[in-house]
Symmetry: C2
Amino acid sequence: MVTSITSDAVRERCAHCPGRSHSICNVIDDDELPILVAESARVQVAKGRAFIEEGTPAHEFYVLTEGRVKLFNLLPDGRRQIAGFAECGDFLGLAAVDSYAFSAEAICDVTLCRFSHSGIDRLTQRFPHLEHRLRDEASRELTIMQRRLVLLGRKTARERLATFLIEQSLPPCCAAPDLLEKEEKPIKIKLLMSRTDIADYLGMTIETVSRTLGVFKKEKLITVQGVTAVTLLAPHRLRAIAEGNG
Amino acid sequence: MVTSITSDAVRERCAHCPGRSHSICNVIDDDELPILVAESARVQVAKGRAFIEEGTPAHEFYVLTEGRVKLFNLLPDGRRQIAGFAECGDFLGLAAVDSYAFSAEAICDVTLCRFSHSGIDRLTQRFPHLEHRLRDEASRELTIMQRRLVLLGRKTARERLATFLIEQSLPPCCAAPDLLEKEEKPIKIKLLMSRTDIADYLGMTIETVSRTLGVFKKEKLITVQGVTAVTLLAPHRLRAIAEGNG
DNA sequence: CGTATTGTTGACTACCGTCAAGCCCAGTGG
DNA sequence: CCACTGGGCTTGACGGTAGTCAACAATACG
């Protein structure tokens, strides 16, 4: 399950954001990659397996190099809140001081790059830029969280789902949801998750998710192809709904 | 309004957490404090004034040295979600990449220590520890955010308010709400905010806050002295409710 | 002491959650 | 090839939680 990582595996870059990489390696020169490689291990996790459990002591830190992961918290009676989905290049374990603040589960087969905290410390000493990089990443996470608080605390089901659809239509690394503002052609998106996951992400029930999609369909805001494909017919209207003017 | 900061002003420490300081200065030796002072400015903000506005370009960074601040987001129609309250020693501006992700308003008269981003960069170059400190702070923020997502996404009004009361009964810097677990004497707390703020913090309405407090009173879980003082009669039961077993 | 603001309480309503039945589709085996 | 099965999704009926609107009480403030 754990083998030495190849240089390539830590050099993932985000195709959607030219010039910007989410991986840890963009602060490390190519000829120093072996140092990075020496501090990390490659980990593979099978679809559906949880590999981080909320509350357990946090000694490690991950970079996702392949696949998708969901991060969530549970209440004792099973209620679940999904905090977010991690993609290729994302960091896992920033929200951990002594113990992990979340659980993580592989949505599909997943490859990770694992670093011990002490390994990260050695790397940050060697590459001071890395520390800045990690703070930067944490800041970006925090801004995303802020918007999620508004969504969960103050938006209606309709607004939540509209927000979700718009969010899904943007490239994964665009924190600001107003990039494609003027783009008004229909946008086809793939929902990479089940209704249950959508519901737990938006703080709703699967029934309400389903019903609200139904309403959007009736209002000709979207069309649905099968279960996972959705076309946004009127992105501008959805965006308005998402922001509370619906 | 802006004067040069005194050394004392940046040396706030958290009385509740011996050995731990939330201020920026605990990574800087006393004899190097002048360097810190040179990079910062003292700012005073009057009660009720907003001094950071969501979406404006973020060029600065603050440490709160006196008073209390609320951080929030607004929807266009006025719905408000309070993300949190900052206390003495807290950092403001971590959740900002290019522009601020939140607005900030002084709850009472407030004193801040202001750093330009470029000033912070100079400081982090001089004191590499500071960068780690900032990341650490961002991580702590993130873990707090995780719990807030569960609260807003999955908890009932009753559970939210119980969580809030327990939270208020803990020293401000205790991220883990299970420290005083065994402490079962009544706990007297001061609510340092209006019902409106509580409601906007918990994603509810003031009426529901008021009613739910009424229910807690009837169930002899709390007593209320005036409007701002509450005594938790059965902290363990409240804690159970807060976690979803109530 | 009167006015304004903030908090409480009540009646009503609506949104969304719960429960239950039925549908769709993929995978399996006859 | 088709029936069968099971899981995920949709739809409907119903009810409860919490929001809205409004009146009143309490507290703060000049």
